[in-house]
Symmetry: D5
Subunit: 165 residues, 10 copies
């Protein structure tokens, strides 16, 4: 299945290349974040019906077959060697070195919970620093999810198991 | 910090041992699932104020200092060698061997999303099989979280970044 | 052999896709759990003769050759990268973080033993939480197996080794 | 907890050393396999009440406190570096190199199932080879466990979840 | 040295705890990002002289000795098991699953280069989503660094090596 | 070479399948252990000339070419993922959890040495347990090899190096 | 994509082979470091337009298609087994054994920062040692990057997030 | 136990240091290979009674307690980080890079078998190369062990299992 | 490239097979060690011009093309799974278990340095042990390399960097 | 032993700290490279007698005991987590990404050999780039070692083994 996914990505990248459009331009035309457009074209996200129409408008070479494939729930994955890439490594380095600090601030400001990676937005932006030089801004924006207190009365599946415990 | 956590757990386990109560009995008295009680006494979950009162009633030897410690957001962790334990290995084996099947059924029945491990309940129950023998039932009950479609207009943090992109 | 297995799974998935049936529907028609149906179609379980008849009824496109292949004892396996998939990771996270608690409750309620992953049932269900939202319920139901006390007189193979020890 | 276990093992080994008895002698006096005696004195198995009496008879220096500790369900574990030991490595080499063959013969002679490592006996014996030289015989004797066919009607926990699926 | 660092962090965290201030409050009073304050108190960043004055004002219990220790270049590090923590894992998951997409957008918008993790800012913010729920926003803001074209005439160290090549 | 080996195994397995014989039946006809027959047909052992005649008698479809290939010293190997298979894992679990005990008994009963995995026999047998249920017996029978005391006068290669040391 | 990269590298190496030129000769003709030329021909660096002209002059067999491919931002990567190569291992050994010393000297002479691997030059030179023997000199020359003090007022992306914190 | 071993080694090394003797000198006086002497003083080999007398003569400070400890079967082990040491790495590099060639020559000259690492001698010698420079000669001298053909009639343990197979 | 190497090795092994000569015979005819001949035919060593003539004489089927390929500097490598092979594992076991002892003897007899794996000879010999049985002797003979004292005045590359430090 | 090394390093670093001298200043006064001075004070290199005098002059607080300890051959080692440090990671990244290119240039310019990491110099220098900014220059200068052609007549240890091969 990994091979099928690789082939599909290769075709999708080819369609984008022919279109001459950047991820930002497609994002503009579809109302999506630029990262999400790239995820769609790498089969790391599911294309929704309404968005399929807009994406087809932005990339008219996308066949119905391709659009259908893109509308299936994908198997999310990555090549473990991706960590070798300097761009990805720097992001990983930041996460691991700053991880405990980020966790503690979430605990202080929100409570005992996490930032969801599922109800989640990501974008890459270009800003100008105070020294006038270009800076990359990667924004991770995820819903706060508190760890549930596991009360038996709230565990619906449990209540349906009469006589258990 | 790992050592502090280990010491605290050791003290909490001692309190439980003295009380002579099982996790199930404490669960009964506090209205929590049995697994969650065990997690509280292993500092893998945060004790909430209302529950602190009930837990104190169930385990009167718990000092205020201990209760206060239990009310801090914990650092969730495990010893990687835990996988050697036959009970834990069997669970892990089931997850890895049945994983793709579980994922596909979630996709079919719910859509492109996951079972949350944060808005999540877990319990262990004892039932009698059709052969009259004891069976262990481990229930994982987590909220369904659909993968968000990342529309720029819904990404609040992005809208606040004027002129970006 | 891994390739042969992959090809066979691909064909089996194609048969299911054409049938337009969900795992739940096939489960209903064959009297199996939904997860087990998926395991059969991924060659992670052996198809039994009686069930072969029911499965053929549910998926008439299954050729005799395919049914025969499905009736061989499979080599159970998984791609180690499967852990990258968010659904599988969440399950694994739960097992590792809750593992010691589950073990201790089994010890308290059953004795010194484990939950079998062989005499084992698994199903995925959809329930509605107290907040009215969908929840995924994964049930692991395995026979309790006590660790044997290894008495020489009960070790049949030993008694047949005259003069040993 | 790992440290507590290590200390306890060290004390138990000291008791055995003082007694001057070999594992085989203690096995003889307690009716256990020699490997199981060693497992008890390494806290890798739970001492049962009846056997506690016999073990006390064989090793009178075992205090009640020690016997009580030995009667708790142990956390089974091993040091991953144990694989470096030539004796252990040779066993591991045999398992990995002969593993597929053993699996296939089990499949042919028993069906689609495994040898249990829980309902399991192990002993080490000394025999004389056809060349008159000493040979080590390690016997693994485990119950055959067939992989269950997961029929919904036999999954008791499922039947208690009315309306599920 | 790892132990010395752990002790120092423990003391610094104690000072903060006594002060009753959150990372955000200290950030406000020192003009730093909240994540950077946390990094300083975990010895993952070097305290600069001007900021030492402000930090002393915000946390008067910080002794001169502690401030001096904080002004040394730290050894940046993390416990590899930190990845077990659900908050950190979710960030890591996002980086690995979105990594190639982020790289490609940087290539399109900036050229062949990376986001620095050294000339780098990080903050955690709380925003309200379109559904009125809390969201965590983690911002990574790093200088764009183009991969240098390695021209001999620009390699100063090379020019000083007369006769080389 | 790994591929060549895989192809050869596939052909050998095909010959066995066609013959309709089990490993046990071929073992009976060739005077070998059942595991060893399986090893021969997986190219994990070298076929000896005398045995080649018997094997040809048991499996007449084995061509001379195949027999010749089977008579070469094989490259012994295994797929590291084999450990995922529940049958193999259970064996490995037993070896790792019982390893130190087995080593100590060998030391007590034989001296400072190991069980050879080269001068080694392995068989799988079916016995009936005291509960009347089937049990799998895996026997490892290896020559005891004492660790040599390295005396210079016994090190022949050293004596031939005049003037060394 | 890894395969495409491997094929392209193979073609580029073929062009160089046919030309009969060494990396040093091409470096001389293009004004690049010898290592950088090799990186270009391994697709580990992006060919810049001005240099493309010079490289075409040095290697006239390079087609426009190849030059175009070389002008895309590459995916930087390496085979993890490369560490087996003695030349690469020796370099790695030096980095790991001398790493802390190098870090401390950078801290003393430059401050709290690192040597960039992006704004970076590398060359291999041949010199004659004091014993008259050939020596390999590998020079790493990277821009010094100080770790930024993360002041909120300098974090441009933060200032654009009004009302945050 | 690892700690106990480390302490014992430290004491043994102290005794040797005080004696002012080299491994070669002790080897000369005890009739052992130099490597084996070092192994004894690192508790990687068992001291035999006859040799204990000679070793005591060579190192009179060895107490009876120490000699007794040295006469127990040791747990053979090594620190996995030992591979970092350049001397050990070079040996490992040679084994891995030359391994297949060594195996093939053993197959050609001896048959299908291995060099034992148990019935094994090792020494380190100093010779003068053809260029007049010092060379290190490490000799591995192990008994040739042919892989056994596993004939049932030769498997003594099997013959004692009446009715099996 | 790994594939090209594998194909080339396969062809070279075919040439040797056809010749009917053993590594020892070719070694005799070319004046090389037997291991080195095997390394040449596995492309783990570079064929030198003078030796090419002798090798051609010993293996006349070697085409000029093959000889040319063998004269290129090879990429030295190995399959990490090679460690599974019992022959290679035993060698590795010896290196890791005896490693510290070998290092210490080198330090005592030679000084602070290592045995080179580059200026290095290796051979496999057959000798008869004191018990009249065959023994395998693997000899590693490498130049002693002392760790250099890094004096600035001897670092030629440094002296050419005027004004540095 | 690792602990002893750590304590010694801590004392040596304390001596340097008290002296108020930088590695560069000590290098100047002892005639060593700055990296080598740091290696000496981290016990990664052996102090030679002549240099001991100069080092004592530069750091008069070094006791004779410390100097004696520094004159022993060290066990070279590193903490594997050191790779987390950004400075060390950047160096490692450069080595792995540029490794094949460096190897090929060495092959072209020197032949089939490597850069020694034993007869090796390393220094860190500060230069000013063409943009006027500080740059770090790390120089690796190692003797070129050609892979030996293993001729039997040149293998002295072999010639001493009469009758072998």
């Amino acid at each position: 299945m990994a091979e099928d996914k690789a082939k599909l990505i290769s075709i999708l990248q080819g369609v984008k290349l022919k279109s001459g459009k950047s991820y930002n331009e497609i994002a503009e035309q579809t109302g999506l974040t630029n990262v999400y457009v790239a995820q769609l074209l790498r089969r790391q996200a599911q294309l929704k019906p309404d968005t399929a129409v807009k994406l087809k408008a932005a990339l008219p070479e996308l066949s119905d077959h391709l659009l259908n494939e893109m509308m299936k729930p994908p198997v999310r994955s990555y090549d473990p060697n991706l960590i070798q890439d300097p761009t990805v490594y720097r992001l990983n380095e930041a996460v691991m070195h700053f991880g405990e600090s980020i966790k503690e601030i979430i605990n202080e400001e929100f409570g005992d919970g996490i930032m969801s990676a599922i109800d989640f937005y990501c974008s890459v932006d270009k800003v100008t620093g105070v020294d006038g030089k270009d800076r990359v801004v990667v924004t991770f924006d995820g819903k706060y999810l508190p760890h549930t207190e596991q009360k038996s009365e709230h565990m619906v599946s449990k209540k349906k198991l009469p006589g258990s415990q």
